[in-house]
């Protein structure tokens, strides 16, 4: 694994030693285990892959939060996707992550095997090409993601409009990260002592976006990159703050994240989307945490075009994805983990999405 440019094995060792030392001090300060949460699927994978959880010792409990966009998409939305993919003359364009996520009646992979048209795209602009190539079909792009993907989806909508494409629409399940962090803190279910803030999302929204969280809830926030050294550095900064009783926003990923973020991306996003409420799997409806198409772009709204309403769907009774997404359980603490629920036979999205915490933990579980 390529470490942070310039991160020697000695530096990594030093970072681990610093974290362990600070963890003891921080634990003493809070009077128990220090609970830190990462809120990014890519972090979940990097942490599991490098075995960072095991390195930190017992003083720190590093939990995953609602950082995997597919995982926080509620089951009703998945069922809407199944419904659309089953319709004749409809092509459902989606990122590959969604294909195997179980809804209440199977997954998109199963719909595809029965003849449903599901097109896996790497870039939203592929949906544009699909719509151009199939003028007699309706192409629906599934917009699942945080502030990282929303700007590119916004560009898709604008480009479709510019080209006068009338057979392309968007099923938007986009969400924004900071309101979810506030909701978790407000719920006080898990006594969280700090957030490892998502690197990719922060490239867009900037590290300043977490200021009000740090201030209002007295909770340290540190933006982290994705190499083991990046993550250890951010954990060290969090533990330092906890040990000192501080609560501020720090940036351990300065080579990519600016305090004010990427203005162009934010403008593109809000030129097409307006803020609305969103339903998060495991958390429920959070006000001002979703992105819906603005009224002037409503012609591209798949919900309106196909007169859809999201069904109420109960998660599988043995699935504990909700608790995993709230940081109340680690994947391995779920009774179904690795037994009734495996990547080949997932009960819930966290085990199947490439960014899911359970998938990461299962794939890279400690030997």
């Amino acid at each position: 694994m390529t470490p942070l440019p310039g991160a020697s094995p000695e530096m990594l060792e030093q970072l681990v030693a610093d974290c362990r030392r600070l963890a003891d001090r921080a634990a003493e300060r809070v009077g128990g285990r220090v609970h830190l949460m990462e809120v990014c699927g890519t972090h979940s994978h990097a942490i599991a892959r490098a075995g960072i959880r095991d390195l930190l010792g017992d003083a720190v409990r590093l939990v995953s939060g609602p950082g995997c966009p597919v995982c926080v998409t509620d089951a009703g939305q998945i069922d809407l996707c199944l419904d659309l993919a089953e319709r004749p003359h409809t092509i459902l364009a989606t990122f590959g992550d969604m294909v195997r996520v179980p809804g209440s009646r199977g997954s998109l992979a199963e719909v595809r095997a029965r003849g449903g048209r599901v097109k896996v795209v790497y870039s939203p602009l592929e949906a544009l090409a699909a719509a151009q190539q199939a003028p007699d079909s309706e192409v629906v792009m599934v917009g699942v993601g945080f502030e990282t993907t929303a700007p590119t989806i916004a560009c898709l909508v604008r480009e479709a409009d510019r080209l006068g494409l009338r057979n392309l629409s968007l099923l938007s399940a986009h969400k924004t990260v900071p309101p979810a962090l506030r909701a978790l803190l407000a719920a006080e279910e898990v006594g969280l002592h700090g957030f490892l803030c998502p690197g990719h999302v922060s490239v867009v929204i900037g590290s300043n976006a977490y200021r009000s969280i740090a201030n209002d809830y007295r909770t340290p926030c540190v933006v982290a990159g994705f190499e083991p050294a990046d993550i250890l550095l951010a954990i060290r900064m969090l533990l330092q703050q906890v040990a000192e009783g501080e609560a501020k926003v720090e940036n351990a990923y300065r080579r990519a994240v600016a305090p004010e973020g990427n203005r162009h991306a934010v403008e593109a996003m809000y030129s097409v989307f307006a803020v609305g409420e969103a339903s998060w799997r495991g958390i429920g409806v959070i006000p001002k945490s979703g992105l819906r198409l603005r009224d002037e772009w409503s012609a591209f709204d798949a919900m309106a075009r196909f007169a859809l309403t999201a069904p109420e769907v109960q998660d599988h009774p043995a699935c504990h994805c909700g608790e995993v997404l709230r940081g109340a359980r680690l994947p391995a603490e779920c009774p179904a983990f690795g037994r009734a629920c495996t990547p080949a036979r997932p009960l819930g999205p966290c085990m199947v999405s490439s960014e899911g915490a359970c998938a990461a933990e299962h794939r890279y579980r400690a030997a």
């Binding site: 892959r49 075995g51 195997r100 009646r105 095997a113 599988h316 036979r345 794939r363 030997a367």
Partner: protein, 359 residues
Amino acid sequence: MTMTRVKDEAIRRTSPGVERASLPEAVLLGHGGGGRLMQELIADCLGVLGPANGLDQPNDAACLELPSGERLAFTTDSFVVSPLSFPGGDVGRLAVCGTVNDLAAMGAQPLGLSLGLVIEEGLQREALAQIIASIRNACEEAGTRILTGDTKVVERGAADGLFINTSGVGLIAPGVLLGGERARAGDRVIVNGPLADHALAILAAREELPLQGDFHSDCAPLNDLTAAVLEAGGNGVRALRDLTRGGLAAALNEIARQSHAHVQIVEGAVPVRPAAKAACDLLGHDPLSMANEGKLVALVAPDRADDVLAAMQAHALGREAAIVGEVKSLDECRVTARTALGPTRIVDLPSGELLPRIC
């Protein structure tokens, strides 16, 4: 809907409290991924063929003993790659190399191949001619030839351009005994070069992904390299395995299962080009699970490992060969990797659909 029935049965079959997810009714793309789902499909649907029909044959090719005492390796493989041609090769080259490499992994030199073509109507004659030319070239490179063949044309939509099946028969050199069941504690794990290039070349060649970086498939016949490995390592070479779908992770898991061995690799020792590493990170894939078409893993007794490594590095197809791990014990069946930070983690079989139609 019949889904419900299947789900109910699945629930009834399991203990109360913990329910299993439903079994899909239809074959899914993921069942072809070379991972756990595929193992399940084979066990569920092909199981009726029974061990008498080669279902317990976990090596890359079957071994047939003739009355004369000579041993033949026999294998078959189908090639459905999309697109048909890509940097570093095309479906024709792949169809020859894939089968030659399955024979080579048994220590066999190919006697000849069969060639089955399923052509979709509308395929351009020129494209077909190019693929046939590359079949001829790959055969020359491998020192083999096509002995028999079959050609079918199906209506548009019933295949995607061209599907190829090749079977191969090879002669196993006298005294060579190879197999995943032969691993011993202390054996070294050696690969002949950087991983993941084939899968990335295919991805980059697919129009949908504007992947930058110079990705060339490693597609190559390995029978000359395996001959050099066997000459250098003799009976110290326990097993060879061609690293195709599922990559090094799948091959080592198979060997671990066959030998009931704990195989440990050192993540930092596994050769992966920086551009390939970056692309895998970007796409969320693990280089250990990515497909290759010109790579093999060798399990070699410790006292012969350096000789085998030197022989690989002296060969054009093994310049960047490396020792990446060892067999820790025969007490437990698992594959682990030591990470850059020190902890070890499980290296699992990929579960399902990584990248369909990669070979």
